[in-house]
Amino acid sequence: MEKTYTVSVFTENSIGMMNRITIIFTRRHLNIDSITASESEIKGVFRYTIVLRTSREQVDKVVGQLEKLIDVFKAFVHEDSEIVHQEIALYKIRTETLTNGDVEKVIREHHARILTVDPKFMVIEKTGHVEETQLLFENLQPYGVLEFVRSGRVAVTKPMKELSAYLEEL
């Protein structure tokens, strides 16, 4: 059965790491929905967050292959219920549409915020789950969305065991 899984991979900060990671998904013909990377709470250790839809069996095998990479410390797989996750979306609309009172209502209802206002355009920001940022997009569309972009998922886990505890085991 297919489900959405979030894979967190902790790695050294070495050249080509992203490539090494994605090759493993490509080989198994798995499509990555989103991927983000940043330094983790431990200096020098990077954290990749990868979201994909597949079966538990496949994702477990992928994690096995990821952990085989020399520069990978550890990889974890989580279902949505085991993590707190978030994405950020930016929406660029014409400033003139603001004079239309409805847009303000939409922004308010979605708890979005206005990042910047230029005489010609303005940028709205919303963080949330995909469904939420998508809904705002759909509600803004009647007013004309000039640009829309959504980040990949970032996530932290609910279980309390920290990465540093795993690293100590290694």
């Binding site: 790695t11 490539n19 080989r27 477990d60 095998k61 952990e67 020399i70 690293l167």
Partner: protein, 564 residues
Amino acid sequence: MNSIKTTGAQAVMKSLVAEQVDTIFGYPGGAIMPIYDALYDYVSTINHVLVRHEQGAIHAAQGYARTSKKTGVVFATSGPGATNLITGLADALIDSTPLVCITGQVASHLLGSDAFQETDVVGISMPITKWNCQVTKAEEIPAAIAKAFYIARSGRPGPVLVDITKDAQFGVMEFQYEKRTRIRSYRAKPKISKTNVEAAALLINNAQKPFLLIGQGIMLSNAEKDLLRFVEKSGVPVASTLLGLGAFPNNHPQYVGFLGMHGDYAPNIKTNECDVLIAIGMRFDDRVTGDVSRYAKQAKVVHIDIDASELNKIIHADVAVHADAKEALSILSELVQEKQHTAWLQEFKDAKKVEVETLQVSAKELHSEEIKMDEVIKILSDITNGEAVVVTDVGQHQMMTARYYQYNKTKSNVTSGGLGTMGFALPAAIGAKFGAPEKPVVAIIGDGGFQMTLQELGTILQSKVDVKIIILNNRFLGMVRQWQQMFFEKRYSFTEMISPDFVALAKAYSIEASKFEARTDLKETLVKMLNHKGSYLLEIMVAKEENVFPMIPTGASVSEVRLN
């Protein structure tokens, strides 16, 4: 170690010396010239084998690593030199062979500019190396090489590639070398779980029909003695994968044969009759399992491997032990009860009899005047006492050799298993001889595969390597022809081979050679070849349309193994 000013190229050589490298297989070119220049100062202490093609260099290094306990080392230049290594890298990765390949690269300021002979070899080789890296500064060379050797031979071994830019080779640095023994993100040796080994022992002790499958992992962890002890104490029958051949003496009474698609009848059918299946240092390749949904379903499975990702990858393990084979076997030997499984072993022997009898009947049906591959292999096995290093290429002759050569010594079987690379055998045999100079090395090759890398006869000539080459010439790409016969209505689409005069060809390289066509004195001919001082090429004309049986057709279960 005292630090001394050296160039990056000299640092490469000094690093190799620090790793006790005594043999390098390579081919020079523009981007690796500084390293070759540094090598020139070591000609009296390091053996550099000049091959005729970089694919030959890497296969030779594989042969060397497989017969010795060392890491194979390869030098190649940038661009085409590096891309010619690709097949060997893929082959070494899938067959867990430790290699360190050093490639030259264009100067760092030219990287990414499509400079002459620039290829992104790090990018290309990423999925087919255990690890790779690019070095652009002289001072980074020793650490990169130290890391390369550590990664190549620790854990589950594999090929590693270090790409060194030309400016890094010219650069000056203070040489200091420290062997690597740890990488914080990589655990070479797993911590063995005692509880898991105990669970495995419990299953084995309660089994009525335990069955052990071994793979190359036994040899890679030097666990041959521990294996023997475990097998003799527990009384289990043992079968081997293609790459595992030699890890357990084939003349041992508990050895029941070779597994898989062209393996023996008994171990294949008994896989689906045993109650506990123990797999050590093997990875349940599809050539071993056939249809996995009908593989050993009745059995409890114990799987021991050093590579965690192999556990539960193909076959669910009731007890998965993530461990080095040697360590696991030594603990397991303590825990298992002393037993004999006489009746169960007899079942294998009975099945073996069925196989032998059926194959004899089919052999009679073939044109009897034609020499069969298995006759050649059986005689060779006899006269070498199963103690030669046997290198095979890919195809029918490979399966026939695996079936009929009695591998009694460890590290005596060199073949391309996982990748099935035609052209592997000739260069691999050259390397195998350097890895095991005291043993006779016999390469058995098809007429097709020989022509993929026959230029390495030049290496034999120049390096005076003593390898015996047997070409089993069936005038066909035999294995493909067999499939065409069985599954494509005998439509022999482009599998007929016209070959040159192999004897004349060998002689052109000053290699003694002869052609054998009549059965009469096959044994004498083989003895003569073996006793010849120096290399020898023997072309044996064999039956054109012999088939390899038993066979598990693709998609069939191991219990559906066909005898004809």
